[in-house]
């Protein structure tokens, strides 16, 4: 009993740490002036999300999150940031414009709406967690679902990735072939 309650407290502590790291780095991404620091904060955000996925027994998704996002996608972001050089963009500089105030009000309203809906409409209905066995979230189970129940989604995803790769290559090579005025070759 004592061991179980200690484990519960430990899970809560890890969750609170991950949640605050997640929220803090999320705010850091949108408030940093330097895009390099913003990209680095997004890596922290993705890592803390991976911790939360582990707490939700989604081991494979957590591993994919770290490999695909924090590994591949963020390296691409950092490369492009380095290519573009330091182009600062100060979000909170000067007096807040009506656009900024409106955006903050709209997003706060969205958040409050989510909290109110989650708090009021789901009371009691979301308290009983389903029982899972040890295979839940393992690569074996994910692969089985992908190749049986969700085969169409799997194939469409592969086509989407292929089209994106071709599109990236075309976008990258097109602007080199057609120089416009002002571009130094």
């Amino acid at each position: 009993m004592i061991v179980a309650s200690f484990a519960n407290v430990l899970v809560w502590a890890i969750w609170v740490l991950a949640a605050f790291a997640c929220l803090g780095s999320g705010i850091a991404v949108i408030s940093f002036t330097n895009p390099f620091y913003a990209s680095l904060s997004l890596i922290g955000n993705l890592a803390s999300l991976a911790v939360m996925y582990l707490l939700l027994s989604a081991e494979f998704v957590a591993a994919a999150q770290v490999l695909v996002y924090a590994g591949a996608v963020m390296v691409m972001f950092l490369f492009v940031t380095a290519y573009l050089g330091n182009r600062a963009d100060a979000p909170w500089a000067g007096a807040p414009s009506w656009q900024t105030l409106g955006a903050v009000a709209a997003c706060s309203a969205l958040f409050v709406e989510v909290i109110v809906v989650v708090g009021l409409k789901t009371s009691g209905r979301l308290s009983h967690q389903g029982k899972i066995d040890s295979s839940f979230g393992r690569p074996h189970e994910i692969g089985r679902l992908f190749l049986t129940d969700h085969l169409l989604a799997f194939e469409i995803t592969s086509i989407v990735l292929l089209i994106a790769a071709v599109g990236g290559v075309i976008l990258g090579s097109h602007s080199r072939d057609t120089p416009t005025k002002g571009v130094q070759q």
Binding site: V11, G26, I30, L49, F111, V118, V183
Partner: protein
């Protein structure tokens, strides 16, 4: 080992989604707009995986992995566009890129 309910995860997911939406609305650099989009997608992913655990069904994780693949494609195309815009010596400012005349 019980840990927090799905409701707590939903609150974090909602906050992440609102943060990302705020970033999309207030930032002018297209690079940061893409980063904020990633935050929004991750908020949605967290909700999907929390519900997947709650209902003990793996389908939510499949959906989250698909969202991840779509996000990676979106980043490839978005970064390609940003590099193409930078090569044309245009301002990297989403307020000034209001026409598609190039």
């Amino acid at each position: 080992m019980k840990g927090p309910d799905v409701v707590w995860y939903l609150c974090v997911a909602g906050f992440l989604f609102s943060t990302g939406a705020l970033g999309v609305l207030i930032r002018r650099s297209p690079l940061i707009v893409l980063l904020s989009l990633e935050i929004m997608l991750n908020g949605a992913n967290l909700a999907l995986i929390a519900f997947s655990r709650h209902f003990a069904q793996g389908d939510g994780q499949i959906f989250a992995l698909t969202v991840m693949a779509v996000a990676a494609s979106e980043v490839v195309v978005g970064l390609g566009l940003i590099v193409a815009i930078a090569r044309q010596k245009l301002d990297l400012d989403v307020d000034k890129l209001s026409t598609l005349r190039g």
